[in-house]
């Protein structure tokens, strides 16, 4: 068991790297482009990580810390060392399994989905790279290394979003994703710097110890927390940096499932969970509100989207907002719980969507689908399972996690009162919206009559390589995997493994936020639980019902309805005009600024040095030497002056000896007076 914790994590990390290297360098020479190689490696990895999880359950936390490099002793920072290492704790152990599982399924799924693509091998190589980076991100015990892998997942996401870079949209999407993330990462980096400069070490344990010791407190602590949170905002596509995720759907669907639904985007949540204990009350307030706002905005947007992947993307954003909010309100383990459950059912949703797109020959607009239930039953039922889960219907994993979060919001509001009641209200609202738009999607896609007959005729159920992942993921969205009690996961293995940690700042008060000591908070949770459950059931029920009323039984004419609220409808359809806003402001500003400065550089800065060419040209007119002199660099301002004076002085050289003598006499007279003056 010790062995499992000490050596295996390294193995787990290196296997995907191996897959990447082999495929990148020799993939082309391997049979079938080496897909089997990557896939099998990943399944092995899954097995190992499962073993690690068990080992952790038995042996408990393990951390390994090695010196990375050392700047020696000095007067400014004292002894400066940077460490590298990994740790196995509940978060890591579970994340390992989740990441490997989904990655493995996606590998399998892609075999058919990506079949015949010109860059097939490269695709698998990139998957390997991503898995490596993601595992590194969850394994490390050190926030700087976390940042390192953080950027690397960003890179691999960039590569995979832009995988079909021959088309314009993927290029743009990839660039956008990287840059938007970069903005968040700068904040993240600043946060790290603050930690480094105040605490002097970057391993989580030292950081927590440092905060506990009060090396970092008050405003600085809040600032540090928020700066780190910026990273999460970028990665987890939280408002206001959420705009990149929907565009990221330009990537291959399995990639969307892996990176932009289950794992990478959850890294933000993971980060917040990691630093939860040092987040000050005010920081937590911001986190909470960012979370819920994101959840709400994207839910409203999801209502009206017609691209199957776009709907799922917005639902992802909204769910991520949920998790962030959950951690914000203090329900650390619920948030993380939702992360895991969501990972599975959302991956399932995306893969089913992928299977649909595959079946429909790359049609993504749901208005052309319909009635697919008969054609692709497996896909339908798995999709249904996942949809139930995300809508929080009992007996699903989604129900457990969501319900827990909702109760946490109630408890939170109950504690802080006042304005914070917005949180639960919105949270429940979002739950309803989620149920509604998910079932809208389900109905329009799978039920009813086919809209595009000839596509429909060619449509077929996907092969086993695709259906097996679907089924397994659907199964994983079943409550039994997390708790034997279908109504509450409190006593399930998961929540008993992932304990609520007590915030280091427990008992402190913020503007609208009071961080309670742990047991008090759990008290409130217990009280809130039942109400939350009933309410959530009610609301999601209503959501589902309305969806059926609108789109299945068609009791209400949707078009009329939308017409009656056209502005609102467009507002939602156009994603609240965020992209337009950013393009008009930030992007446009930067571009024009860059154009301006390059002009400035060419004309002014260089101009000052170059002297206005005209200046020289004037003189050069009656010398005809312009080019000659120009090439000699006489356009330099110095040159300009030299030229000017030179020409001035040349006028004296008339060639008439008598003028010279006259000048001589003048010279003497002038010198005389100069000399007298001295």
């Amino acid at each position: 068991m010790e062995f499992a914790l000490q050596k295996l994590p390294v193995l787990v990390l290196l296997i995907p790297m191996l897959s990447f290297l082999v495929l990148a360098f020799f993939g082309k020479r391997l049979p079938r482009g080496g897909d089997w190689f990557g896939t099998s490696l990943l399944f092995i990895n899954l097995a190992i990580s499962g073993f690690i999880l068990i080992a952790f359950g038995v042996a408990g936390r393990y951390e390994l810390n090695l010196e990375w490099f050392n700047l020696g002793n000095n007067n400014v920072l004292g002894l400066t060392k940077f460490f590298a290492g990994f740790q196995i704790d509940e978060l890591t152990a579970i994340m390992l399994v989740v990441v490997n599982a989904i990655s493995a399924f996606v590998h399998l799924f892609s075999i058919k989905y990506m079949e015949g693509d010109t860059k097939y091998t490269r695709y698998y190589a990139f998957l390997g790279l991503f898995t490596f980076s993601m595992l590194g991100l969850v394994l490390t015990n050190n926030i700087l290394l976390m940042y390192v892998f953080w950027e690397l997942v960003g890179l691999s996401s960039y590569l995979l979003i832009g995988f079909w870079y021959e088309k314009k949209a993927p290029q743009e999407a990839a660039k956008k994703a990287f840059l938007v993330n970069r903005i968040g990462d700068v904040g993240f980096f600043l946060g790290i710097s603050v930690l480094f400069l105040t605490i002097g070490s970057l391993t989580f344990t030292d950081i927590f110890a440092g905060v506990a010791a009060g090396k970092l407190a008050g405003g600085t602590l809040t600032a540090a927390g928020l700066l780190l949170f910026c990273g999460a905002v970028g990665k987890s596509a939280q408002f206001p940096l959420h705009v990149w995720l929907p565009d990221a759907m330009e990537g291959p669907t399995p990639v969307s499932a892996l990176i932009h639904a289950a794992t990478m985007v959850a890294a933000g949540v993971y980060l917040v969970a990691r630093i939860f204990v040092i987040l000050s009350a005010d920081a937590l307030t911001v986190v909470t509100f960012i979370g819920i706002i994101t959840a709400f905005i994207s839910a409203t947007i999801a209502l009206t989207q017609n691209d199957i992947k776009k709907v799922l993307a917005y639902s992802t954003i909204s769910q991520l907002g949920y998790m962030i909010m959950a951690i914000g309100v203090g329900a650390y383990s619920f948030g993380f719980f939702h992360l895991v459950t969501h990972a599975f059912f959302k991956a399932c949703l995306f893969l089913t969507a992928g299977s649909v797109i595959y079946g429909m020959h790359h049609i993504q607009d749901i208005r052309e689908m319909g009635g697919l239930r008969k054609k692709m039953p497996i896909t339908f039922y798995t999709f249904l399972m996942a949809t139930l889960a995300i809508s929080g219907v009992p007996l699903t994993s989604g129900f457990l996690s969501k319900d827990a979060i909702l109760s946490a919001t109630l408890a939170f509001a109950g504690v802080n009162g006042g304005v914070t009641y917005i949180v639960p209200i919105l949270a429940f609202g979002v739950a309803g919206l989620t149920a509604f738009y998910m079932f809208r999607l389900l109905i329009i896609t799978f039920l009813g009559e086919p809209k595009n007959q000839e596509k429909y005729d060619h449509c077929h159920e996907s092969p086993w390589q695709m259906t097996i992942p679907l089924i397994s993921l659907a199964v994983l969205s079943f409550f039994g995997f997390f708790s034997l009690n279908p109504l509450s996961a409190d006593h399930g293995w998961f929540l008993s493994m992932v304990k609520m940690p007590e915030s280091i700042l427990a008992g402190t008060k913020g503007a609208f936020y009071h961080i309670l000591p742990l047991e008090e908070f759990t008290e409130h949770l217990h009280h809130a639980h039942t109400t939350a459950m009933i309410l959530s059931l009610l609301i999601s029920g209503i959501g589902i019902l309305t969806a059926f009323v609108f789109y299945y039984w068609k009791k209400v004419n949707v078009d009329k309805l939308t017409d009656s609220i056209k502005p609102l409808y467009n507002f939602s359809l156009n994603k609240w005009y965020f992209d337009e806003l950013y393009d008009k402001t930030a992007v446009a500003f930067t571009m024009s600024l860059s154009r301006l400065s390059s002009w400035f550089d060419a004309k002014v800065v260089d101009g000052v040095v170059n002297g206005s060419a005209s200046f020289t040209r004037v003189f050069s007119k009656y010398t005809g030497l312009f080019d000659n002199i120009f090439v000699d660099g006489l356009v330099n301002l110095m040159g300009g002056l030299v030229g000017a004076f030179g020409l001035l002085f040349r006028k004296f050289q008339t060639g008439k000896i008598q003028t010279y003598i006259a000048f001589l006499v003048f010279g003497i007279i002038i010198l005389y007076f100069v000399f007298r003056a001295m």
């Binding site: 040349r650 003497i668 010198l671 000399f675």
Partner: protein, 497 residues
């Protein structure tokens, strides 16, 4: 009286030898009746002998001919410079087509010797009359030399300009001398110094007038602004060896007398206080020198940028170089004088080198225009690389002798905290790079026109001469101990304690 004169003759041997060899050359010329190198050889031998005797005087410090001339390390140093440059230029003349094609036979040799004689006297004269006479000796011979090619319009024009301008300035000078004479009652600069030291004259206008007028004489020899107007035209018109002679020897002579005049006449009882001159209060000549040198630098460099003829460009550049050299006098101390002497040595090598390359090129191409040198680097690589060395030396790039000279001048300035002046000079040398590099640009960066890519051939003698000038330019740039030692030793003048 008589035996004093005879004694004086001992310290007059170098000049005597020059006179003798002068006469010998004339006789030879008459005998041979045709162009021949023999005369040049004879002349060179004569000069070498006189140089030898001059060298013998190295440790002498004495006055001769009742206070007309002195013998001191300072004068010996200049005698060496003159000898060396004259020899080199006589050799140049052997290569120069202009000289060869002139109607004369070998006059240039003894004209040059007589010029050297005058220069020697300039370097060693301590009497205003003697200064005037020797200066005129140099001038008159240079008038003739610059008009050497009778048939060439440019040459005769330049001679005319030179003679009139020279006559005017020397006339003004002698008028100034006459005033100074009446003012101080003596022609001997030591006596004048004594007189001025006693008499308390806070810059009396008459005094100033004398100084400025006398300066006109010296200033035109070293072609310093505003006495420089003759320089470009004469340099352009005269045969290149003569131009070189004017640029190096005669201006060196000018500096010799200029330095001695100021560094002796206006010293408080000829005193040097730990290396610094004790300048007579009221006659603050350093300021006027600052004005002259800055003006010369700026004008020389700025106008040179516009020249299309290398010869004329070198004329302006030598005006500027003169400006640099004068900086040494500004600081009014031994260090400055030393720097000047170092720079003069550097100037000799690099400037003569440049002119020699010019001679070789214009022999082949019959032009001294920049445009004619297009792509020459590919047709005559060795010559052009040598030219590059000289040009870079003139612009003062390190590892060349030119940098050493500048380095010492700036050291002298900065040592007496004249940063701003040093900065002006430095900026000027940056500017000067414009036109020095321009030559290289034409030679190397530009491709030769289609068709004429055959290599130019030069005689081995030419290459030897070239290396004889280029190698010292590089070597002393990297190892300049000897230069400095010589200069420091020679910076001692008679009568300065």
């Amino acid at each position: 009286m008589l035996e004093q004169t005879l004694n004086s003759l001992k310290s007059f041997i170098p000049e005597t030898v020059l006179i003798v060899s002068l006469i010998v050359c004339i006789i030879l010329d008459l005998i041979l009746r045709k162009k021949s190198a023999i005369v040049s050889v004879a002349g060179i031998i004569g000069i070498i002998i006189s140089a030898y005797f001059a060298w013998m005087q190295l440790d002498m410090k004495g006055i001769a001919f009742s206070g007309m001339i002195v013998v001191d390390p300072y004068s010996v140093f200049f005698k060496m410079i003159f000898a060396l440059s004259t020899i080199i230029i006589i050799i140049f003349a052997l290569f120069s087509k202009e000289i060869f094609e002139s109607t004369h036979k070998n006059e240039h040799v003894y004209l040059m010797i007589s010029l050297a004689l005058g220069a020697n006297l300039m370097a060693s004269s301590v009497n205003l009359l003697m200064m005037y006479l020797s200066l005129e000796t140099v001038s008159i011979t240079s008038y003739i030399l610059s008009g050497y090619n009778k048939k060439v319009k440019r040459s005769s024009e330049s001679a005319m300009k030179y003679v009139i301008y020279g006559a005017a300035s020397s006339g003004i000078m002698i008028y100034g001398i006459s005033l100074l004479y009446g003012f101080t009652g003596s022609m001997n600069i030591f006596e004048i110094s004594m007189f001025l030291s006693k008499a308390n004259l806070a810059s009396s206008p008459l005094m100033v007038l004398c100084i400025v007028m006398i300066l006109a004489g010296f200033g035109y020899k070293i072609s310093s602004v505003p006495f420089h107007f003759w320089t470009p035209d004469v340099y352009e018109g005269a045969p290149i060896p003569v131009t070189a002679f004017l640029a190096v020897t005669s201006s060196a002579a000018g500096f010799a007398v200029l330095i001695r005049f100021f560094a002796t006449t206006f010293l408080q009882n000829g005193m040097i206080l730990n290396g610094n001159f004790g300048i007579i209060p009221g006659v603050n000549w350093p300021e006027i020198i600052i004005v002259l040198s800055v003006a010369s630098m700026i004008l020389g460099n700025f106008v040179a940028v516009w020249q299309t003829s290398v010869k004329r460009m070198l004329a302006y550049s030598s005006i500027a170089q003169g400006g640099y050299i004068m900086l040494g006098l500004v600081v009014a101390n031994q260090q400055g004088i030393t720097a000047m002497l170092i720079y003069l040595m550097a100037y000799l090598f690099m400037n003569l080198g440049a002119f020699f390359v010019l001679i070789l090129i214009s022999n082949k191409l019959d032009t001294d225009e920049l445009i004619g040198m297009k792509g020459l680097g590919y047709k005559a690589p060795v010559i052009c690389i040598a030219m590059a060395v000289f040009m870079l030396a003139l612009s003062g790039i390190p590892s060349t002798i030119g940098f050493v000279g500048k380095f010492y001048l700036f050291s002298a300035l900065i040592h007496s905290n004249m940063f701003w002046l040093a900065l002006v000079a430095l900026m000027n040398s940056v500017v000067s790079l414009f036109f020095y590099i321009k030559v290289l640009k034409y030679m190397f960066l530009m491709k030769p026109d289609e068709g004429d890519t055959q290599k130019l051939k030069f005689s081995p003698g030419a290459y030897i001469m070239l290396f004889a000038l280029a190698i010292p330019t590089m070597f002393f740039g990297l190892y300049f101990t000897p230069l400095v030692r010589i200069a420091e030793f020679s910076a001692t003048m008679f009568g300065i304690k």
